[in-house]
Amino acid sequence: MQEIPTPSKKQPSHPLDDLIRTDRLPHIWCPGCGIGTVFSACLTALKVSGINLRKTVMVSGIGCSGRAAGYVKLDSFHTTHGRAIPFATGLKLANPELNIVVFSGDGDLFAIGGNHFIHAARRNMDMTVICVNNLNYGMTGGQVAATTPHLAKSTTTPVGNPETPFNLPLMAYACGATYVARWTMLHIRDLTDSITEAICKKGFSFIEALSPCPVNYGRRNKQKPLDMLKLYQEKAIIKNDADPSTLDIDFEKGIILGKFVDLDRQTFTEQYDKIYRPSRLQENVSELSS
């Protein structure tokens, strides 16, 4: 008979502990929530990417996903509802050396903050935007969002959602994003790889991470906590380079995942320097050659 080891008093450290404000745990996310998984994919990606973490900033808006900025041990800003992207724009323009990761939810980035998203993508502002899409407003108790499927129930669409949800990758592509991918939190390795690529990619990169909200979305739509994960597994169709116009989420037919856009376009700062601050470009060139 094997002897049961006595548990050591000191908890073993987690490999991501150095990127987490462990003094802020436990976190606020509910049991069955997928945000933590997307968050750890993001932290792993930050490590793997090899970027200078001292010069890396996480910016969030308001909502469940918006709390990520409060747990990451980097310079981190928890801003106002929907305004993470313009706040991050100010940081980036003040100090172009900073690597910017915006981590927020679908309600924050695409309803109240939708205007900022489309313009930052159009400008090709050099930042990585990670949207945790849980199909509803979780923090306030499960209201309809701009991403809630048609006919799905929420506290503010008690009989079913009369509206049509956004196709987020299509919007990002149409607005000029240079990198667009979608995964679910179940596809953790693909998601981590995509976030790593996005962080290393110059320009506006966007990743949609589908994530379950069993407490507020699942409960009202006859889904048990694991049901959404089963859908992610059974209905996922991995199709890199898929036409962005075909990416509407349809839990019946299938959810198309993959990397859809990866192209090169000059960033706002590159264009601004070229047109307005040519002396700064010359300085950069001389720094590189020296």
Binding site: R24, D75, K92
Partner: protein, 381 residues
């Protein structure tokens, strides 16, 4: 490449002088959105900032413009935006974030007639209470009102200096008339301009508390990317910057953001006067209205009325003590402002019923003629 300080004598509008004051103060980032009558400030900054290694961006709306200047400030750069009433309304959300996160920056409101779209091309002074209370919650704010293009040049520098010293958004409440008026503006040599920058922290980075007050009640402020692992939130937070949803933390944070202003009133409040020493009737005014009031006071003196002018340069925090002291010795006050009585209420509050307070105001669209002030000075007392 033009220098940041354009030393020389100019014929300049208030809007352009404001932009030049900002550059002289060290502003290197402007996030803007076009709006009459403030657009010329953005236009000037768009031309000038790249020449001084700064950055201009026109955002998608005023909400975003205000958010970018907060971000830029945490990026380590002095930043500004300029707008008018409708845009000022949109900025209120992130002005609150700036107050809560103690972020230095300057917001200019070139006031026009309101409410709503109102009178885009005509001046008013009707956002004065919005400047004080426009964002939700309790807070202290600093707001200043220039009376000429020359003064807006200097006050913009003062606004930046106070904002850096006390770590909060500082408001310049000018108006369409000053903004579009051209007058002589003298820009001094750069070495004669005193600029203040936020105190930087010293010591260990791993135990740094971004909201632990220093000697004057204000915490030193690092920038993002300097290795402090800052966490900055608009939630109620402790000295470490961490959110804490507790009555005690709310009380402590509110004390930090209000006391740093309340304890330094002598350093912050600026007023000016004209024939005030022996005055029996005090005209209280600011901005463009203080100039017409000055003409009215001079006219009243000719008629033998002992009138004087108290010109408010700092509007918020309100110079309560000065009004209270005057209320003990004068016969009454006349508030002159282009609105229906906003600062008037403050004067009434501080006069405390000891002496009468009259208002000369109108709903906006033009200046207040000195004759209408003289009429009240003649008839009311």
């Amino acid at each position: 490449m033009k220098p940041a300080v354009l030393t020389g004598e100019y014929f300049m509008t208030g809007d352009v002088a404001c932009a030049e004051g900002a550059l002289a103060a060290g502003c290197r980032f402007f996030g803007g959105y076009p709006i009459t009558p403030a657009t010329e400030i953005a236009e000037r900054m768009a031309i000038r900032l790249p020449h001084v290694d700064g950055c201009f961006i026109q955002m998608e709306d005023e909400i975003a413009a205000m958010a970018t200047i907060l971000g830029a400030s945490w990026g380590g750069v002095k930043s500004m935006t300029a707008t008018s009433g409708p845009g000022f309304s949109l900025m209120m959300e992130n002005i609150g974030l700036g107050i809560c996160t103690e972020t230095p920056c300057v917001v200019v409101n070139v006031q026009r007639g309101g409410p709503s779209t109102g009178l885009p091309t005509h001046g008013a002074q009707s956002d004065m209470m919005q400047a004080r209370w426009g964002s939700h919650g309790d807070y202290e704010i600093i707001a200043m009102a220039p009376s000429s293009p020359q003064e807006i040049f200097y006050l913009t520098i003062t606004a930046f200096n106070l904002s850096e010293k006390y770590r909060l958004p500082v408001l310049i409440m000018t108006d369409e008339i000053i903004g579009h008026m051209s007058e002589k503006v003298i820009i001094p040599e750069a070495k004669l301009i005193k600029t203040v920058s936020r105190p930087k922290p010293k010591g260990r980075k791993d135990h740094f508390k971004p909201f632990a007050p220093g000697p004057n009640g204000v915490a030193p402020m690092p920038a993002a990317g300097e290795g402090y692992n800052l966490h900055i939130t608009g939630l109620t937070h402790d000295e470490k910057g961490y959110p804490v949803m507790a009555v005690e933390t709310q009380a402590e944070m509110m004390a930090r953001i209000t006391e740093k202003i309340q304890r330094n009133l002598d350093d912050i409040i600026r007023t000016d006067s004209f024939l005030l020493d022996d005055a029996e009737i005090v005209v209280v005014s600011y901005g463009i209205s203080a100039r017409t009031s000055m003409a009215a006071v001079a006219e009243a003196r000719k008629l033998g009325i002992k009138a004087g002018l108290l010109r408010l340069v700092t509007i918020w925090p309100f110079p309560e003590d000065q009004i209270r002291t005057l209320a003990d010795r004068v016969k009454g006050f006349v508030t002159v402002e282009i609105n229906l009585g906003q600062i008037h209420r403050e004067v009434e509050r501080c006069a405390g019923g000891k002496v009468p307070v009259f208002l000369v105001g109108h709903p906006g669209g033009t200046i207040i003629h000195p004759d209408s002030v003289v009429k009240v000075l003649k008839e009311a007392f």
